[in-house]
Amino acid sequence: MIAELGHFALILAFAVAIAQSTIPLWGAHKGYAEPMRFAETAALMGFLLIGFSFAALTYGFVNSDFSLRVVYANSHSDKPYLFKIAGVWGNHEGSMLLWVLILALYGALVAAFGRNIPPALRARTLAVQAMIAVAFLAFILFTSNPFERMDPVPVDGTGLNPLLQDWALAAHPPFLYLGYVGLSMPFSFAVAALIEGRVDAAWARWVRPWTLLAWAALTVGIALGSYWAYYELGWGGWWFWDPVENASFMPWLVAAALLHSAVVVEKRSTLKSWTILLAIIAFSLSLVGTFIVRSGLLTSVHAFASDPSRGVFILAILVIATGGALTLYAWRAPQMEPEGVFAPVSRESGLILNNLFLSVAAAVVFLGTLGPLLIEAVTGDQMSFGTAFFNLAFSPLMVMLLIAMPIGAALPWKRGDLPRVMKKLWTAAALSFLVGSIFAMWRSGGPLLAPLGIALAFWAIFGVIVDLSERVKLGRVPAGETLRRLANLPRSAWGQALAHMGMGITAFGIVGITAWESEDIRAARVGEMIPLAGYEIRFDGVERSKGPNYIIDGGMFTVFRDGEEIASLVSEKRFYTVQRTQTTEAGIRASLIEDIYIVLGDKQDNGGWAVRSYVKPFANWIWLGAFIMTLGGLLSLTDRRHRVGAPNRGKAAMVPAE
């Protein structure tokens, strides 16, 4: 019964979305207040309806209602509680429901907190948002109904894929969707602005918080997925340039570009047309990502339930949304006159360079991901574009971005003086060179480029510190004055500093783990000592035990350094009895210097066990950097001028009402 109510709520939400996508547009066109206000009511109602529907499905999962086909196919009565809930989005139908729930959540947030947005722009934005909702609700109702019943009712479910029964992967989709779907907000704002034919500084100020939120959520989602791959897949890889990973990475890159270009629109009233284009592209890439994951068109290690008819439906949504928005753009964009004046050496130019690197980087990922498909369509030949391609084509762009980042951030608006900026930054350059040299001596034997990579990462980090200390006049004014200046820095400045520093930290981790990893693979007998990168690892045998819904073979290891015991690790092989599949849980001793990472393999013919041991230097800095980037994004979000729903003040009040 509850499932039927959930289904019914979803149909109602579909009807509401149709009304929301039309009536407010007409109202905004005619200047009628009531139909425009309807957009808010409808957005809140749509959210409540979809929220109810989602709750109904969750109820089905938590209570193991196996008459529902998705519950039967993705749950089991003895699955731990947390994973019963995570099972709601651990399958195609439920994850699409989560997709529209988050879409509706964003709409409701605009309705509830967007009071300072002019009524016409707000009405149009919510209408565009509702068009997306119509498309995806139709997709769910007609191709992927999560409330389908089964008759007869099975006794028990087939269980959730064991690999998905993990906290990081349980949290991964909601964050990823908060990011993916969050980019629908800038998209809707962009399309609404194109309909109105006006983009101004105030517009950029309303768009930026949504972009920040989406970007921060995507950062968390991607980092969680990467961290999960690191400890769960069994050989400590953290990024595979897999189509599904690339699908989330492309919107991330474009969203990062959009964040920066929106600043230029807001502060200098220029780059408007480009920013609108980026907003359209960012969400289009989200749709491409959804298409890649849901269609199964590209072979991926993550291939989820795939069904050609579903793929075609999403492709149609993608073509209509992107095609429509771009047509509107081609028609309206030429009317947007650039206003700001700036010299070739200025922060404006720096941000244009940032946008150039980030968008070309996104294009390269796009080429490497979808290019093989195009080649196959044209020539019939299959090609593989693997890690080697991305290392060659993508990495140089990131190197250029990292080199330019501290310089661009230190340039003033309008007109800058490059020699003067370099004079400020020379300390950062010298310090990063020093750190690179220290690493060259400390970690000899790696690739020759590695110390340069370390120096580059630290150039980004020290660049931030030097820029901050310049801004607070460290050492040039009394300490009290410096502290006062530090406290008075706007939160967006702190956000920028953290985000840039996070970039450097992640780069440091990537260089470290890539350059100096060591490994040992052997058939180890019980009691055998494995020497590896200055450690000695003793294999103490394998013990069998029982988990909540799996059987454990736990390989026990003791790690010594200079004869002293420093850690005992357990590396598990889990056998899930329902699905009859195995997963590995690596035994990891994590530290900021290096991780000791041990994986137990199969029993060997000679009586020993296959044991893979790795030492992974600086691995955790990769995710630490991502975390700091996210913090930076969130801190910027709380800046007074971005605060969602902040009272109307300053410039926003100067925008003429319609």
Partner: protein, 147 residues
């Protein structure tokens, strides 16, 4: 559903060559060869039987004294371009290989023209007139001394 429902075992201890130099070459080569029956993995990471066969084949050829390039050529002749994770540069792939640089240069030219044709702000801001200063003082603002 995720395809990798079994733990990834990749290189088995029994496959490893006793010569560490050859073995490290084998590992590098394996990372550049695609497991043809897998979703999207190289043969070094895959636990499929076919990947294992190919790993052993690579090692046999190394022991027989083949160069890295000879082994890649051999794999390509036997399984086609698809097996190479770093695709060869030819008419079909040239746009993908050079897409990034072309876009970077093209985008750079467009961006530069935008920047260069932009009116430049005046270097010297004309000093405030006494009337303007007076007006600022009335508003309670001391005219900026640094300007």
């Amino acid at each position: 559903m995720l395809a990798m429902s079994s733990p990834v075992h990749a290189v088995e201890p029994s496959e490893i060559l006793s010569d560490p130099a050859l073995e490290s070459r084998a590992r590098e080569l394996s990372k550049g060869l695609r497991c043809l029956v897998c979703r999207n993995e190289n043969i070094d990471e895959s636990d499929a039987d076919l990947a294992k066969d190919l790993r052993i084949l690579v090692r046999e050829r190394l022991v027989a004294g083949d160069t890295d390039q000879e082994i890649l050529d051999y794999a390509q002749s036997r399984y086609g371009d698809y097996v190479l994770l770093k695709p060869p540069l030819n008419a079909k792939t040239i746009l993908l290989w050079f897409g990034g640089p072309i876009l970077l240069i093209g985008g750079g030219i467009v961006a530069w023209r935008q920047i260069a044709t932009r009116p430049v702000p005046p270097t010297k801001v004309p000093p405030l007139t006494e009337a303007e200063r007076a007006r600022l003082r009335d508003l309670g603002i001391e005219a900026d001394r640094e300007a």
